[in-house]
C-alpha cells in the first residue's frame, strides 16, 4: 500500500510485445527469411508441407508436456509411451487390416492414458518427484516394448493402405496430421486459458502449497495432467506409425528430450506456473524448422544439437534474469527494517 500509485492496466498489445511467443515468431521469421534467401526452394509447397508434418507429432507431444511442466512436473516417459503406442497400434492394424483409423487413434490414446495414469499415481501417491518417476517409466515402458517386440518390426507393406494414407491425406486442403496437431494445441490452449481447471493447473505450478490451501483438488488435477500427457504421447505414436510405416521397438527413442526442449524454448517456465501451450507448439515448430533449415543451408547436422542446446539455455537464462530482477526490487522495496 506504499504510495498509492494507481498502476495503469497495460494495453493488450503491449502485453503481447512482451511475450515469449512473439520472440519465437520473430526468430522463426528471421530464420525462414535467411534460409529462403540462400535457397528459395525452402518456401516451396513440398518443403512447407514436410515441415508442418514433422512439427505435428512433436507439437502434439509438446502440448501434453507443456501442461505437465506448467504444474511444476515433467514427463520424461513420453518417448517410450510413443514407442509403446506405435508398436501396439501397428501390430493391431497389421493383424486386423479392416479396422478403421478411428479405432487406431482410440487405442493409441488409451494405451498412452494408462501409461500416464501410472506416472500420475506414482508421483501423487508415491510422493516421488516426477523427474524420477518418469525417468523410471521411460526405461520400464521401453523395456516392455523390447521384450514384446524382440527384434521384430512392423513394415509398411504389412499395414493397411488407409492407415498409411492417413499421414498424407488432406481434409479441406490441410493434412490430417496438421489438423490434429492444431486441434490439440488450440484446444489445450483454450482450456488452460479460459477454464477453471486450466487456471487451477497454473495455480498448482505457481505455488503447490497455496494450491492445497486454496482447496484446489490437486490430486485429481495432477492425475488428469499425466493422463493427458500420456494419451497425447499415445496419439503421437499412432501418427508416427502412420507417417513412417515402419515401426520397431525403438520407435521414438530420445523424443522426450526434443519435446522438453520445444516446451522450454516455447516459453513454459521449468518451475511451473507460467507459459502457454501454443507457445510450446511454436517451440516445436521452431525446432523443426531449424533442423530442416540447417539441411537446406548444408550446415552440418551436428550443429543442430548445439543450436537447440543454446536456445534452451537462452530461454532459461531469460526466465532466471526476470525472476532475479523482480526478487531484488522486492527485497529493497520491502526493507523497512
Amino acid at each position: 500500500m506504499t504510495p498509492l500509485a494507481i498502476q495503469k492496466p497495460r494495453k493488450p498489445a503491449m502485453n503481447f510485445l512482451k511475450t515469449r511467443e512473439l520472440g519465437i515468431v520473430l526468430a522463426l521469421a528471421a530464420l525462414i527469411l535467411y534460409t529462403t534467401i540462400s535457397n528459395p526452394r525452402f518456401l516451396s509447397g513440398q518443403s512447407i508441407r514436410d515441415n508442418l508434418l514433422n512439427t505435428a507429432i512433436l507439437a502434439v507431444m509438446a502440448t501434453g508436456q507443456a501442461v505437465v511442466v506448467i504444474t511444476r512436473n515433467i514427463d520424461l516417459s513420453v518417448g517410450s509411451v510413443l514407442g509403446f503406442s506405435a508398436f501396439t497400434v501397428a501390430t493391431m492394424m497389421s493383424d486386423h487390416q479392416g479396422l478403421p483409423m478411428i479405432v487406431a487413434i482410440v487405442v493409441g490414446l488409451a494405451v498412452g492414458a494408462v501409461a500416464g495414469l501410472l506416472n500420475g499415481v506414482l508421483v501423487r501417491y508415491g510422493k516421488v518427484p516426477a523427474l524420477v518417476v518418469t525417468l523410471g517409466t521411460l526405461y520400464m515402458y521401453r523395456g516392455i516394448v523390447y521384450q514384446w517386440a524382440g527384434g521384430s518390426q512392423v513394415n509398411a507393406d504389412e499395414l493397411p493402405a488407409h492407415f498409411l494414407n492417413f499421414a498424407n491425406d488432406n481434409f479441406l486442403g490441410i493434412p490430417w496430421l496438421v489438423l490434429i496437431a492444431l486441434t490439440v494445441v488450440g484446444g489445450a490452449t483454450l482450456v488452460m486459458r479460459n477454464y477453471r481447471v486450466g487456471r487451477e493447473l497454473y495455480a498448482m505450478g505457481s505455488s503447490p502449497q497455496a494450491a492445497e490451501l486454496a482447496g484446489i483438488r490437486v490430486a485429481r488435477n495432477l492425475l488428469g495432467t499425466f493422463v493427458l500427457s500420456g494419451a497425447l504421447a499415445g496419439l503421437a505414436g499412432v501418427l508416427f506409425a502412420a507417417r513412417f510405416g515402419t515401426v520397431d521397438a525403438s520407435a521414438g527413442t530420445g523424443y522426450e528430450l526434443n519435446v522438453v526442449a520445444a516446451v522450454v524454448v516455447g516459453g513454459v517456465a521449468v518451475f511451473g506456473g507460467s507459459g502457454t501451450v501454443w507457445g510450446a507448439g511454436l517451440g516445436a515448430l521452431l525446432l523443426t524448422v531449424i533442423s530442416s533449415a540447417l539441411a537446406v543451408l548444408e550446415i552440418n547436422q551436428f550443429w543442430q544439437q548445439a543450436i537447440v542446446g543454446a536456445l534452451i539455455i537462452l530461454a532459461i537464462c531469460a526466465d532466471r534474469l526476470v525472476a532475479v530482477r523482480i526478487a531484488r526490487s522486492l527485497r529493497k522495496r520491502d526493507a523497512h527494517v
Binding site: R196, R199, Q209, A214, I216, L330, R331
Partner: protein, 501 residues
C-alpha cells in the same frame, strides 16, 4: 456483545504429531461481530489450531462446530465452504497469476460456455479493492506485490468468498505501523458487519486495540478465555509463560575475561540493523527474541555464512573478513547450527568422520587421511561429552537426537575454538539430555570459552545466560544482565512493550 450461539466453536480439541501433543483439550468460541485474540509463546499450539480450522489438519479428538453444528473438514475446500477464510503469516498467493485470478481462484465467474468471465472477474476485484480502499491493478501478477499488498489481496479473497469467519495468523508480523492501521480499519469494518475474527499476534498493543476477547494457550493447553478489558498486559504475559523456572540449568559463576567477540553496527538490508554487542571469555551471552526477529541471521552473518551490508565483526580485537566462514574458523570461531540434520551433520557418514570433518586438514598426512589420528581425536571428544554410541564407525543417523547434538558439539570443540556460537542448542532434545547439554556449555564457559547462544526457550536463556540480548524485528530491543532478566522483562522487550513496571 456475546450472542447465543457462537459462529464457530472449538470444543475440547486435541492433536498430536507423533509423540508430541501439539494441542491438548482446547476449547473456545468465536462470536459474530467480535474479534478474538489467540496468544501464546512460540510452540504453544496456535498454528496447529489455525491449521485445524483451515481444514489442513484434522483434530484427533474433539469437535469443531460451525453455527452450533458439528463439522468435519476433509480438506481446505470444506473449511472454505463452511465460510472460514484463513490469512496465513506467509501470504499464500500464486505469484504467476493475476491479482484478480488470485482472488477468484476456485470461485471464478463463468460465462454460459463455462469459460471464465474475465471481465466480471476484474470487475469483482475492482469492487473489492474499492471497498477496502486500496488501489491495485487487478490484472497485474501477484509476483512483486509488497507483503502488505499481498495481505490485502488475501483479505479481498476472504471477502469474495463471503467468509463469515476470518482467521488471521500473525498478519501484522511483516507490516509497518501505517499498514497495520489500514489493515485494522478493514478488519473492524468486517467485524462490525457481523463476521467473527480470530486474530493471532505477538504484539499486545494490537490485541488490546483490536480484540474484545482473548484465549491464552501454553504448551498446547488452554489457559484462559477472557474479555480483553478484564486483563492487563501483565496478566496476559504471566499466563502465557507462567511455568516454574526450576534450577534445571546450573550455570557456574565465572569471572569474565577479555573481550572475545565484538560486533558493532552490523546491518543487513531487510533482515537486521545496527546490531552491536560483545562476548567475553567465560561468558554465555544469549540472543533472545521471537521467531523472525533475526537472531539466527545475526549469528550466521557473524560467522560469515551470510553476508552483511555494513558493520564490523572483531574477534580478539582483530577485524574479521565478512562472508568468509573459513576465516572465522581460523580465528577460533565455531558455529553449531540450528538444524543439525541439514547443516550440522553428514547423516550417512560415521561418527568419527563427522567429528573430524572440520579438522581434516590438520589430521591429514601428505593430504591423505589415515584412520588412527581420526579415531583418536573422535574418541577423545565423544568420551568427554559422554556421548552414548555403539561404535565410532556407526553412521550418525543411528544416534538419538540428543547424541547427534553432542556429535555436532564434539565436531566443533575438537577444533579448539575460543568462541562457540550455538543456535538453538536443545531444540528437539528431551529434558534429561537438555540438562546435560547445559552442564556442558556451562563447564566450557568455566574453562574460558566465550559462548554466544541463540535460543527460543526462555527458561534456557534465563538459566544459562550471563547476559541476554533481546532482538525485535531485526534490532536490539534490550540488553539485560543476569539479575535483570526475567521471563516478563524478556518477553516485554521481545514484543515491544516498555520494561516491566
Amino acid at each position: 456483545m456475546a450472542e447465543a450461539t457462537a459462529l464457530l466453536e472449538v470444543h475440547d480439541v486435541s492433536k498430536s504429531f507423533g509423540a508430541v501433543a501439539a494441542v491438548q483439550g482446547v476449547s473456545f468460541p468465536l462470536y459474530g461481530g467480535e474479534a478474538h485474540a489467540l496468544v501464546g509463546e512460540n510452540g504453544a499450539g496456535k498454528s496447529t489450531i489455525v491449521k485445524m480450522l483451515a481444514g489442513v489438519h484434522r483434530p484427533d479428538t474433539g469437535t469443531l462446530r460451525v453455527n452450533g453444528a458439528d463439522v468435519e473438514f476433509a480438506g481446505p475446500a470444506d473449511a472454505k465452504a463452511a465460510g472460514i477464510a484463513v490469512i496465513y503469516q506467509e501470504p499464500t498467493l500464486f505469484p504467476d497469476l493475476s491479482v484478480a485470478e488470485n482472488i477468484a481462484m476456485g470461485n471464478q465467474p463463468l460465462t454460459r460456455l463455462r469459460q471464465i468471465d474475465r471481465k466480471a472477474m476484474h470487475a469483482t476485484a475492482e469492487r473489492l479493492f474499492a471497498r477496502l480502499g486500496v488501489h491495485l491493478d487487478p490484472t497485474r501478477p501477484a509476483r512483486g506485490l509488497s507483503i502488505a499488498d499481498q495481505q490485502l489481496v488475501e483479505i479481498a479473497k476472504a471477502l469474495s468468498s463471503e467468509a463469515r469467519i476470518l482467521i488471521m495468523d500473525e498478519p501484522t508480523a511483516a507490516l509497518s505501523a501505517v499498514e497495520v492501521e489500514r489493515l485494522f480499519a478493514v478488519v473492524r469494518s468486517l467485524r462490525d458487519e457481523g463476521a467473527a475474527i480470530l486474530f493471532i499476534s505477538h504484539r499486545f498493543e494490537e490485541i488490546t486495540e483490536l480484540c474484545e476477547r482473548v484465549t491464552i494457550m501454553r504448551d498446547g493447553k488452554h489457559v484462559a478465555t477472557e474479555m480483553v478489558a478484564d486483563l492487563s498486559v501483565d496478566d496476559m504475559i504471566r499466563r502465557m509463560v507462567g511455568r516454574d523456572l526450576s534450577a534445571l540449568f546450573p550455570k557456574q559463576e565465572v569471572e569474565p575475561g577479555e573481550v572475545m567477540l565484538e560486533v558493532s553496527s552490523l546491518s543487513r538490508a531487510g533482515v537486521f540493523r545496527d546490531i552491536s554487542f560483545d562476548v567475553r571469555a567465560g561468558e554465555i551471552v544469549a540472543l533472545a527474541g521471537l521467531v523472525g526477529a533475526g537472531r539466527s541471521e545475526v549469528v550466521q552473518a557473524v560467522f560469515g555464512v551470510d553476508p552483511y551490508d555494513s558493520g564490523i565483526v572483531k574477534i580478539r580485537g582483530k577485524r574479521l573478513k565478512p562472508g568468509n566462514p573459513r576465516a572465522a574458523m581460523a580465528a577460533g570461531m565455531a558455529l553449531v547450527p540450528e538444524d543439525r540434520r541439514q547443516q550440522g551433520l553428514v547423516m550417512d557418514l560415521s561418527i568419527e568422520r563427522n567429528v573430524t570433518l572440520p579438522r581434516e586438514r590438520k589430521l591429514a598426512r601428505l593430504g591423505l587421511l589415515f584412520g588412527g589420528a581420526e579415531r583418536r581425536a573422535a574418541a577423545k571428544w565423544t568420551r568427554q561429552l559422554q556421548t552414548k554410541l555403539g561404535r565410532l564407525s556407526d553412521a550418525v543417523s543411528t544416534l538419538s537426537g540428543g547424541n547427534q547434538q553432542k556429535v555436532v558439539l564434539a565436531k566443533w570443540l575438537s577444533t579448539a575454538p575460543q568462541l562457540l556460537i550455538v543456535d538453538e542448542p536443545t531444540r528437539g532434545i528431551d529434558v534429561g539430555t537438555k540438562a546435560e547439554v547445559h552442564r556442558l556449555m556451562s563447564s566450557l564457559a568455566a574453562d574460558g570459552l566465550a559462548v554466544l547462544m541463540v535460543s527460543s526457550e526462555l527458561p534456557e536463556v534465563l538459566g544459562m545466560a550471563d547476559r541476554v540480548i533481546v532482538l525485535r524485528e531485526g534490532r536490539v530491543a534490550a540488553v539485560l544482565n543476569r539479575d535483570e532478566a526475567t521471563e516478563e522483562s524478556v518477553m516485554y522487550a521481545a514484543m515491544g512493550q516498555e520494561a516491566a513496571a
